[in-house]
Symmetry: C2
């Protein structure tokens, strides 16, 4: 009987791809108010798709900023209930001039679909939606109970999600969460993610003179905010790449010798990684392997820094202000608020003379996360991947952050299983983001199998 589902999914591949293209054409950038129309359109699109699939109680649920799209199907009494998570918002598309095709005009090239958000997270989040549609179309029911939570603020650190989950804890109650977001680490090695880093974000401004000054007439008499911010940003790291903020590493739990051996056993070659990112050399905190640095060590990265003239040619100006945006990635036992306080204190005491420091108030915070290796939802994911690939999936960590997993654990008491079919090399958060089209179809089959197995195992 369940075979019908797989046949249905296979028969509808072209239609599913066309739907993803339609979804990815909507410019749903959550961070910039300029894209408000796109955000509303994307939420409405998801509502329409859930309704068309036959999901119940579909609705847009407002938050302080971008709404959550919710839907549920609870017609399998006695079967487990899962909370499916994904997000319909995307990263900003800039730098625009580096895209080979426009970011919101999806284009298929060599088996890949190119567009902003197609891998993070529109392609992956479409999968559970279409799997539900296939079960309901072929069998009139799902093998398990499913609640869908698609948020619109993942790319800005999910600022409204905590309040939303608190207020709707009963509605969202489930045995565990199954996340369509998260990305598999490699295309050729099945894996499940068991930990992710947390995040602490901060933005600040350095102000010198009250207005832009002519650098000839005034150069030498007043501090230049660009020099000051360079000193300040340079002070955040030692020359060899350690974070120089006092107490930054205090709460980090050191890896055990066994953990280091396990990490070293994973198939990872520095040379391959270097070729993938195209950097002149690897660089980072001394004393750790690249994988250890990526997965188990905290970082502090400046994501943007600017001030003065950026146009063609020159403009001899001492700008009034200079700006920087920072995010830290955190590992277990580090507290985002404590890290933000330490970074703020560092910026404060390292601000050079002649300028004034202003730190913006809207910090991003997310705790680091780890799921027990014997969690039943995780075992099902491993079983499906093993079945599909004929290989035992790897247990991997992830350098990125998924704030929802920490929120679900803290507020709902449930773990999150990452079961995403995007891949870490698909340039999300960069120009020319893409999603491998065969992964869309493999993901559909895998999610159907996951729900089927979970329903049978009850």
């Amino acid at each position: 009987m369940a075979q019908d589902v797989y046949a249905h999914l296979a028969a509808n591949q072209d239609r599913t791809l066309a739907e993803l293209i339609e979804f990815a054409s909507i410019a749903s950038v959550s961070t910039d108010p300029v894209y408000a129309t796109g955000m509303a359109a994307a939420a409405a699109w998801v509502v329409a798709m859930l309704s068309a699939a036959g999901i119940d109680a579909v609705r847009i649920m407002p938050t302080a900023r971008h709404p959550v799209v919710y839907g549920e199907w609870l017609g399998a009494p006695g079967a487990p209930t899962i909370l499916v998570y994904g997000h319909y918002d995307v990263q900003p598309p800039d730098p625009m001039d580096k895209w080979e095709s426009p970011p919101f005009a999806p284009q298929v090239r060599e088996g890949r679909l190119y567009a902003r958000g197609v891998s993070d997270d529109k392609g992956p989040m479409l999968i559970p939606l279409k799997v539900a549609a296939a079960f309901l179309a072929t069998q009139g029911s799902l093998p398990i109970n499913v609640k869908f939570l698609f948020e619109g603020e993942e790319e800005i650190g999910s600022p409204s999600l905590e309040a939303f989950i608190r207020e709707n804890a009963d509605l969202l109650a489930a045995d565990f969460a199954l996340s369509a977001d998260g990305a598999m680490w490699r295309i050729d090695e099945p894996s499940v993610t068991v930990a992710s880093r947390g995040m602490a974000g901060i933005e600040f401004t350095v102000t010198g003179a009250g207005k832009d000054l002519h650098s000839g007439r005034h150069g030498g008499a007043v501090a230049n905010p660009l020099h000051a911010i360079a000193h300040l940003v340079a002070s955040l790291h030692t020359a060899d790449g350690r974070v120089a903020v006092d107490g930054f590493y205090d709460d980090v739990v050191a890896l055990t010798p066994v953990e280091r051996v396990d990490l070293a056993a994973l198939p990872f070659a520095d040379s391959d990684y270097l070729a993938q990112v195209g950097a002149p050399a690897l660089f980072g905190e001394p004393g750790y392997s690249t994988l250890e640095r990526l997965w188990t060590r905290p970082t502090l990265e400046v994501n943007g820094m600017w001030g003065g003239y950026q146009g063609a040619g020159s403009k001899t100006v001492i700008p009034s202000t200079a700006h920087a945006k920072i995010t830290c990635r955190l590992v277990p036992a580090q507290q985002p608020s404590a890290i933000i306080a330490k970074v703020m204190h560092h910026l404060d005491i390292h601000t050079p003379p002649g300028v004034h420091l202003t730190i913006q108030n809207d910090h991003h915070e997310a705790l680091p996360y780890q799921i027990p290796a014997d969690h039943p939802g995780l075992r099902v994911a491993m079983a499906v991947l093993a079945e599909m690939s004929g290989r035992e999936p790897l247990l991997v960590r992830m350098g990125g952050t998924l704030p929802v997993s920490e929120l679900f654990l803290r507020l709902l008491g449930i773990y999150t299983v990452f079961f995403s079919f995007s891949t870490a090399d698909e340039d999300f958060h960069a120009p020319n983001e893409f999603f491998r089209i065969h992964r869309l179809h493999e993901g559909l089959a895998a999610w159907a199998r996951y729900w089927q197995l979970l329903g049978e195992n009850r």
Copy 2:
């Protein structure tokens, strides 16, 4: 007889202001190709005005980039010949959001005309043009011979002017140059500028990975170009404000004790200056007064620095590249090419590991300049100012750069007298640039008087 000229100038004040408004409405930004139409329109406007004034041989003379507008009136045999200098190009208007009225829609507020370029240099360069028109309208002749050279590349360091002067040395031959550009240092103290700083400009890029990377997934493994450029820019100065480039001060000629006493005697209060620029404190090379730093010490200023995400909210990216633009101001005996070589070497040896440095090829260069205090053209300027104000004008230097003065000296063997009626506080190179309207009219009378005196003194 000459009184007719002053009466004519006074009777035409409204018309002259209307013409300046028309001129300033033309967006003649030389540095950015986007404004090519504005550059051509401004050159054509100047040609039309010279022709209407009755100047001879008026023409647009092409250069490699923006043309020179030339005209002459040589009907005073035996009288001195001066080369009048000004420029019709302006600085870029950004940051646009800080203008109270649009930069190319001139607006009169409280006796000031606000628009980009109105003080630097369209208002001042209109003065000799209208003085010539007044003499020719009222007397049919000028008291001296005048050649007009209005360039279109001053704001980009006059890259074509050296070749232009070389090729047209005979055409431009004169007893000295009288510059409408240069700015008086204070509105309430008549002064003549006897020295200006030179310039050396350089732009560079730091490149890490071959593409923008997700700072969660890749943070900690590769160098961040923003960190690298911060280290690099921070390395250019010591913490107390000296330029840290090896050999930067080598060729600087130390001030004599007498020069320091003269500078200290000038009316200059740090507190007034601080209030004018609105900075939290003064800052700069230790061991020198503010005026010494502004006029007699070389500087290195970053005019622009940028990389990564600058929009609203956050984008967790490690950018592939980061950029900076630098200009140095130089004092007598410093060579721009030698300074550029030293800065390039410094950048090269201070580039942190994990990134690649690229230095752009189009450097800006201008030598520092100084005119002898007893130059006859300078004495006439002092006499006119003393006559008009009833006070002895001050001999001042200037922190900015006027490359033409050095070019005229080296290629034509003539000094340049700065006789500008803009004032140093008029926010040129910044938002809300303005020109005091009463200075327009004072400048017209002063230039008429200057030409009259110079003609009588022959």
